[in-house]
């Protein structure tokens, strides 16, 4: 977003975003806007645009420094990447979030608090990647997430940390793999009211391992979503038929740790799951049915298989919230999918008569 800051849009409430806003606000924020439009339960929040990131870089006079550091990277040289990452991150960490952005954050943050009836509401601050890599963001490691952030200062710090993560070694490596090591990247940020999750997890509206489109695969564990997404627990694992709602497979695992809001009021802490809750299933039939229903709606809205992060709020009957959704990536390919053909030729080939299977 070159040019002057005048007229640039830094922040917009999530419900006013659509898919078309992806280039300026990132995939995550745009998707949440789409979900809200489809009346999927999504916690309220706002999106910070790439213009804010550019303003930050420009105001701090970091443009040349970033270009210079990135220019020294050749191929996938891990050491050069680490050096560039270090140089850029250090510079960014000491730069302030521009006042124009800060003022808008303050206003929108206050609005979230007003709607939720809390003075200083806990929010989640997440990076919202832009461009063709946004679908592969899981892989790229551009999924910086700060949970249970409270107060404008902390929100601004978390936003800046998201921006810094754009230059983490894995993120730079990833762009290098795409042949874009030298191009200056940009990123949006999503700020969303935090759900105090009793249970949270991920669901895929297909089986990501087998590719079966008739299944919803659900991973769930106690507490905030960090434990499942970060791979710190082996979650309970359910495979549920979209067609009949039957639980086709269920594995309950020992869930050793969970993330809960820190009692100090800010941040999330990792604690041991009490023994009596460790080995019990964290979802029942009713919760699964609710999840499948929402999963099917999200999939229908986007018209493709979705990878959905969700949370079940504590002490709340209508507790299910979707906190993000994105297209499923890296679907395992089933090697022997029977090709469509006439019934007779398929039968003939299963008897070894007729055209070969491939």
């Amino acid at each position: 977003m070159p040019g002057t800051a005048a007229g640039a849009e830094y922040i917009r409430p999530l419900q006013r975003l659509t898919h078309a806003d992806e280039p300026r606000f990132g995939g995550k924020s745009a998707n949440l806007g789409e979900l809200l439009a489809a009346e999927i339960p999504v916690p309220p929040g706002f999106a910070i645009s790439t213009a804010a990131f550019h303003a930050f870089v420009r105001d701090a006079g970091l443009e040349g420094r970033i270009e210079g550091a990135l220019a020294r990277i050749t191929g996938g040289d891990l050491e050069a990447i680490a050096n560039a990452s270090h140089a850029i991150s250090e510079a960014m960490r000491f730069a302030p979030v521009p006042d124009v952005v800060r003022i808008e954050v303050e206003q929108h943050y206050a609005q979230i608090g007003k709607a939720a009836g809390v003075a200083s509401p806990p929010v989640a601050v997440r990076s919202s990647a832009v461009g063709e890599d946004s679908a592969d963001a899981t892989f790229a490691g551009q999924q910086e997430t700060y949970l249970w952030v409270r107060g404008v200062q902390h929100v601004c710090d978390a936003v800046r940390d998201c921006w810094v993560s754009l230059f983490s070694p894995p993120a730079i490596s990833y762009r290098a793999r795409l042949g874009q090591a030298q191009e200056p990247p940009a990123m949006g940020v999503t700020v969303q009211l935090m759900v105090d999750a009793e249970v949270s997890g991920v669901m895929f509206t297909c089986n990501p391992v087998s590719g079966d489109p008739s299944m919803v695969a659900v991973n769930a564990s106690w507490g905030l979503g960090l434990a499942v997404v970060g791979g710190e627990v082996t979650p309970d694992d359910y495979l549920v038929s979209k067609v009949t709602g039957e639980v086709v497979r269920e594995h309950v695992h020992a869930k050793q740790v969970e993330y809960v809001p820190d009692s100090s009021g800010g941040g999330a802490v990792r604690v041991e799951v009490p023994k009596e809750r460790r080995d019990i299933a964290c979802l029942d039939q009713a919760a699964l049915a609710q999840l499948i229903e929402v999963g099917k709606r999200v999939e229908r809205h986007f018209g493709s298989h979705q990878d959905i992060e969700w949370a079940l709020a504590r002490n709340n009957a209508d507790a299910l919230f979707v906190v993000q959704a994105r297209p499923v990536t890296g679907l395992a390919k089933k090697p022997e999918k029977p090709k469509p053909a006439s019934a007779m030729s398929l039968i003939m080939s299963s008897f070894g008569a007729g055209p070969p299977k491939d």
Binding site: G76, L78, T138, F139, A140, G141, Q142, P169, P170, S173, V202, F204, N207, P208, V209, S210, G211, D212, P213, S214, M215, A217, N219, V228, G230, G231, E232, T234, P235, D237, L239, S241, K242, V243, E246, V248, H251, H253, D307, T329, G330, A332, K333, K334, P335, E336, K337, P338, P340, S342, A343, M344, L346, I347, M348, S350, F351, G352, A353, G354
Partner: protein, 612 residues
């Protein structure tokens, strides 16, 4: 067996299996050609044989061997000589400690396969094209055959032949009649088996192709749903229970339901019913239902042990008691055919909607063809395995009774301890000595043999047969083995692994594929520099920080994480096998060990423990 590059070792050689103590001489119960004989050891030892536990879960009584020979004669005739299934002829069987192992005969010559394909396409095409008409004719043939079996009389051996034999025109003496009846009984059995397999391969083939198609495109679809989409609404197999429900309603209607008390024997219930007018009319109605609907078998299998409801009414009476109880409690007992129909169509539509247009067309075509063939698939069991076979065993029992009456057997059931040839031999001696008035040796000869064989069978019943013997095939390619027994390459590999023993870790199958390689145990991200190209990463879990090494490794194994964990997602992206959430991989695997990661099954096997 159509296999490639067999490897020895995992399964025992058929020639090295020991006879359980006390079972010495078990071989004499079986035909010479059913044994693993030294004279063909070189070939038999190098084939893959699997235990046909689906049809023969128990050690075979000597007479019941006919239910191996006839079916394999029949299935081979249709498969190999009529339809000429291109890559597979018929099935060989062998007997080990009374258990039946089978192995298909492959066709490997490509020219032969092509030649057979022409036969197959023409002939199978004709059957599929005229299925309903041909199946109608088949049912008429089966009904005629069952009638003929019912009309077959097993004559007694009178002291004096009746006057008709002396004065009539069309007359035979009892010696001929007995031998002829026995021969005919065996021939009718053969004929039933011939009919049994006429449609079986094609019927199962069509259904199996639909199942495979579904599983290819919807890998996790429950088998039940596939069956629900195909299953007939109004098939014969549901009639017996439908008739019982009708009789239950009738009993309540005419107020004789109080006779049906939980725990009462059928004979007690009948006795009470016989006391009243209404009860007797109910019993009359029952009689009308019995033929044919009580020709259900009490078990599913090819042994003489399985009887029909006619022989053992405890099952239908228990059902009657249940139905009457449910009706009196105000419950609905009718099979909800409309609902079943609706659900069948709903499932087909919803699954179809998940597929792309082209795939959906194939799906619908296969579904329709499966629905066409399915009445046969379901109903042949009633005609052949239940109705005919339970009556046929009873016919053999009549020969057993004849031998018992003449002292050749202590009990008519003992006839099943003799092979069909031995029964022929015993009958030969019986009619001979009946005719000559001489002293039969049979009463001294057969009972000790029967006693000994019963002991052997009981002991063999305690022995556990290995799932397979002979060489381990690299791949199972015989379509009939896969279609009819579900014995696939994966299944055989799983059996082989179980035989191997060794350390096996289980986790979630997170990214499919199987590879073997050297393990690299990495406990934290700062050690990832140690990982060498082509190693298998074994770690607690991974995060995006680990991303750079995924292009170096061959597979990954983690202690924690599910199928959506970072390691799983990235492994799928790179097409690497992954097993996650093993719980203890970093503790049980050491760097340098050779391991096999099966990301399809979710297992990790330590193969070699050598360290660098």
């Amino acid at each position: 067996m159509a296999t490639t590059a067999p490897t020895a070792g995992a399964f025992p050689s058929p020639y090295e299996i020991e006879t359980p103590a006390g079972c010495e001489g078990w071989e004499e119960m079986y035909p010479y050609y059913a044994l693993f004989d030294e004279r063909r050891r070189e070939i038999d030892e190098n084939r893959f044989w699997f235990w046909n536990s689906m049809h023969f879960p128990m050690p075979m009584p000597a007479f019941d061997v006919i239910c191996i020979d006839s079916p394999y004669q029949a299935v081979g005739s249709w498969q190999n000589r009529v339809f000429a299934v291109p890559p597979a002829m018929g099935i060989d069987y062998r007997c080990v400690n009374g258990y039946i192992y089978i192995s298909g005969n492959p066709v490997t010559d490509p020219a032969k396969i092509a030649e057979r394909a022409e036969f197959f396409q023409k002939r199978a095409g004709y059957y599929f094209g005229n299925w309903s008409e041909l199946y109608g004719k088949w049912r008429a043939k089966m009904e005629a055959l069952i009638r003929e079996l019912g009309e077959l009389r097993v004559p007694d051996l009178p002291e004096y032949e009746p006057d008709e034999v002396a004065f009539g025109d069309d007359r035979n003496t009892a010696f001929y009649e007995v031998l002829d009846a026995y021969g005919r009984a065996l021939r009718l059995g053969d004929l039933m088996w011939q009919h049994h397999f006429e449609f079986l391969l094609l019927g199962y083939g069509a259904y199996g192709t639909f199942v495979e198609f579904c599983k290819g495109h919807l890998p996790d679809i429950p088998d039940q749903h596939i069956a629900q989409m195909v299953a007939g609404i109004d098939v014969l197999l549901f009639r017996p229970d439908a008739e019982l429900r009708r009789l239950a309603r009738l009993a309540i209607e005419i107020e004789v339901d109080s006779a049906f008390v939980q725990g009462r024997a059928p004979s007690e219930i009948d006795a009470e019913l016989a006391e009243t007018e209404a009860g007797r009319s109910w019993l009359d109605e029952l009689e009308k239902v019995k033929d044919p609907w009580f020709n259900m078998a009490t078990g599913d299998g090819l042994y003489h042990y399985y009887r029909s409801w006619l022989d053992d009414p405890s099952i239908p009476y228990a059902a009657l008691i249940g139905h009457i109880g449910a009706l009196n409690a105000g419950e609905k007992i009718d099979r909800p055919t409309e609902e079943i129909q609706r659900e069948r169509d709903r499932l087909a539509n919803e699954y179809g909607a998940l597929l792309d247009d082209e795939t959906r067309t194939s799906f619908n075509d296969l579904l329709n063809l499966s629905r066409t063939v399915f009445p046969y698939v379901e109903e042949h069991k009633f005609f052949c395995d239940y109705w005919f076979l339970t009556r046929w065993w009873n016919k053999i029992r009549e020969f057993g009774a004849l031998l018992e009456r003449n002292g050749f057997l202590e009990d008519s059931e003992d006839v099943f301890q003799l092979s069909r040839y031995e029964v022929a031999s015993a009958l030969d001696e019986l009619v001979l000595t009946w005719a000559t008035g001489g002293l039969p040796l049979g009463p001294k000869h057969w009972p000790p043999i029967v006693t000994r064989r019963k002991e052997i069978l009981e002991k063999l019943g305690e022995w556990t047969p290995p799932p397979a013997i002979g060489v381990t095939p690299e791949a199972v390619t015989d379509p009939m083995t896969i279609m009819l027994w579900g014995v696939t390459t994966e299944r055989v590999q799983e059996w082989a692994r179980q035989q191997d023993g060794g350390t096996v870790l289980r986790g979630a199958a997170a990214s499919p594929g199987v590879v073997e390689g050297v393990a690299r145990v990495v406990r934290s991200v700062d050690q990832i520099g140690d990982v060498r190209d082509g190693e298998i990463l074994v770690c607690g879990s991974t995060s995006p920080a680990w991303a750079p090494i995924f292009s170096k490794i061959k597979a990954t194994v983690t202690d924690v994480g599910g199928v959506m964990s970072h390691a799983a997602i990235v492994a799928r992206e790179y097409g690497l096998p992954a097993v996650v959430g093993t719980g203890r991989a970093t503790a049980s695997v050491r760097t340098g060990q050779t391991i096999r990661v099966d990301g399809t099954e979710g297992t990790v096997t330590v193969l070699a423990t050598q360290e660098p």
